[in-house]
């Protein structure tokens, strides 16, 4: 019960704030208004939402594709399981910021990647690897991969090997067994991983600021701006509610045959 209260109280405050007016210099004050929600209908925000969803979706898909084989490897690696698992987690105990800077270091015009490619005469001019959407997605995938690998591992690890043996006995090739047997059984893990990656990607702003050169505005940037530079907490609250509502809708539609992720 206490837990529910602590979760819901901040939300209640957000709802209240979204209905208030921006104070002259920030903060909130009366009167009550729904103006903040009316502002949301502006098409420019629609574009921002769509772009953010697109980037988050691509990043999530990449995490799944890249993370699944890795999770399979770890689950099947016998006694060294925990070691391999820790090796996945280890990079992520350094600061997210540092890792992002590592990528900036690598991808810059005068960075290692470009210098190496030029030295090998593969390219003449440095490639613009940084400050675009691709770099942002790379940063997101790099940052959220363990959030996909861990839940996948948790479900894969307890898969009954006898089920796969049964599939083999019935004549299924390994690939077929994978698709028809393993994947459906991992569905809870996949859904858990997808949420843990997709949702934070939606709200990210540091990555797009640093790796994207702050050239595009995503929802995360927009919300963060409202709470800091613009000091328009009510509008920020309204934006957040819109974001949360859409994400909740997605989560609910992702439920399969009444089975919930939570």
């Amino acid at each position: 019960m206490l837990m529910t209260v602590t979760m819901l109280a901040p939300l209640a405050i957000i709802v209240v704030y979204s209905l208030l007016t921006r104070g002259a210099y920030g903060g909130v004050e009366l009167p009550w208004t729904i103006e903040n929600f009316m502002r949301l209908w502006d098409p420019v925000y629609g574009i921002i939402f769509l772009r953010s969803f697109w980037i988050a979706a691509v990043a999530t898909a990449l995490c799944l594709v890249l993370g699944f084989p890795l999770a399979m490897f770890i689950a099947g690696s016998g006694p060294r399981k925990n070691l391999y698992l820790s090796l996945v987690i280890l990079p992520f105990w350094t600061s997210f910021l540092i890792r992002t800077y590592a990528w900036m270091f690598l991808l810059r015009d005068t960075g290692i990647l470009n210098s190496a490619l030029q030295a090998l005469h593969i390219i003449r001019e440095p490639l613009p690897l940084l400050y675009n959407d691709g770099a942002v997605i790379l940063g997101l995938v790099y940052g959220f991969l363990p959030f996909m690998v861990l839940p996948l591992y948790a479900t894969l690890e307890r898969l009954e090997p006898s089920l796969l043996e049964a599939a083999a006995d019935l004549g299924a090739r390994p690939w077929r067994a994978l698709v028809s047997v393993t994947l459906p059984l991992c569905a809870p893990g996949i859904r858990a991983g997808a949420i843990l990656v997709f949702v934070p990607c939606l709200g990210t702003y540091l990555t797009s600021d640093l790796l994207g050169g702050s050239k595009t505005v995503l929802i995360g940037n927009l919300v963060q701006n409202q709470f800091t530079a613009s000091r328009d907490w009510p509008f920020g609250a309204a934006l957040s509610l819109a974001l949360m509502a859409i994400a909740m809708v997605l989560l609910f539609t992702a439920r399969n045959r009444g089975e919930e992720i939570l």
Binding site: F73, L83, I98, I112, F227, G236, I261, L262
Partner: protein
């Protein structure tokens, strides 16, 4: 799984681990570079010396560790119990709050927690500090723990517990002896996730931290904002090295 597939997976794993670790290796290599820039000059320990002399850095690292450990323990315990409760009985309130917690952008969680704390503090004569940071971290970590543990519970056979009950175990005993061992890998994974999330959090922490509770990400962000600083490389190398050692040690203890 046949041998060919196994080998293929292993090769893939090598590439995957390289992808994960190479940026860090590069950081580590350049942490020994005497020059600030991406061109190798000569071997030097100056950045490590700078880190050792920076009391701000050290203090904030200690803070981060304390917060992460306390928050992880609390969140794992509460989260596991919550997941178990959800699995057995289901509760719209709790699962609803979990959803909300996951779906809220960090900046919003942070700002609303700040507002909440300030409101509470009017009556309680407290200030922002380590305790508010820990509370905030526990708050947002619980949902992660629940998701991971619940995912594993979903593929668990309910009847095992019932069998235990039939054989005379108490409800708690059934949980403790039968279900919990099954959950251990998931709990371990969830704890690691919670620790990671806590030790790396910048947005929420920076908003609810008080005068005395600067954490490592906050210091790093400030340093990084001002451009490339090899002292950061040194810090990250130290962190990775230190934690790597810890993991090796814990593996040793487990085997012994």
């Amino acid at each position: 799984m046949n041998q060919g597939a196994k080998r293929g997976l292993a090769i893939y794993a090598v590439f995957a681990y390289a992808f994960l670790h190479v940026p860090l290796l590069i950081l580590a290599v350049f942490s020994f570079n005497s020059s600030r820039f991406a061109v190798w000059e000569s071997f030097s320990l100056q950045w490590y010396r700078a880190v050792a002399n920076d009391s701000n850095l050290i203090e904030s690292s200690v803070n981060s560790l304390i917060i992460a450990v306390v928050a992880t323990v609390a969140a794992t315990v509460i989260g596991t119990l919550a997941a178990y409760g959800l699995w057995k009985r289901g509760s719209a309130w709790i699962s609803g709050s979990m959803y909300l917690s996951l779906v809220t952008p960090e900046i919003v969680t942070g700002a609303s927690l700040l507002a909440l704390f300030q409101w509470v503090f009017r009556f309680a004569h407290l200030r922002l500090g380590m305790h508010t940071v820990i509370l905030a971290h526990v708050g947002f970590s619980i949902a992660y723990v629940v998701v991971v543990v619940l995912a594993r519970l979903r593929s668990y056979d309910r009847t095992l517990e019932e069998a235990a009950l039939d054989l005379g175990a108490t409800e708690f005993g059934a949980f403790y002896r039968v279900t919990l061992p099954y959950l251990v890998p998931a709990i371990a994974a969830a704890a690691m996730l919670a620790f990671t999330v806590s030790i790396d959090d910048y947005v929420i922490t920076s908003l609810v931290a008080g005068v005395d509770s600067q954490t490592l990400p906050m210091v790093i962000y400030a340093m990084a904002r001002r451009g490339v600083n090899p002292a950061l490389n040194a810090v990250s190398t130290l962190v990775v090295f230190g934690l790597g050692m810890l993991i090796m040690l814990s593996e040793r203890f487990r085997k012994a």
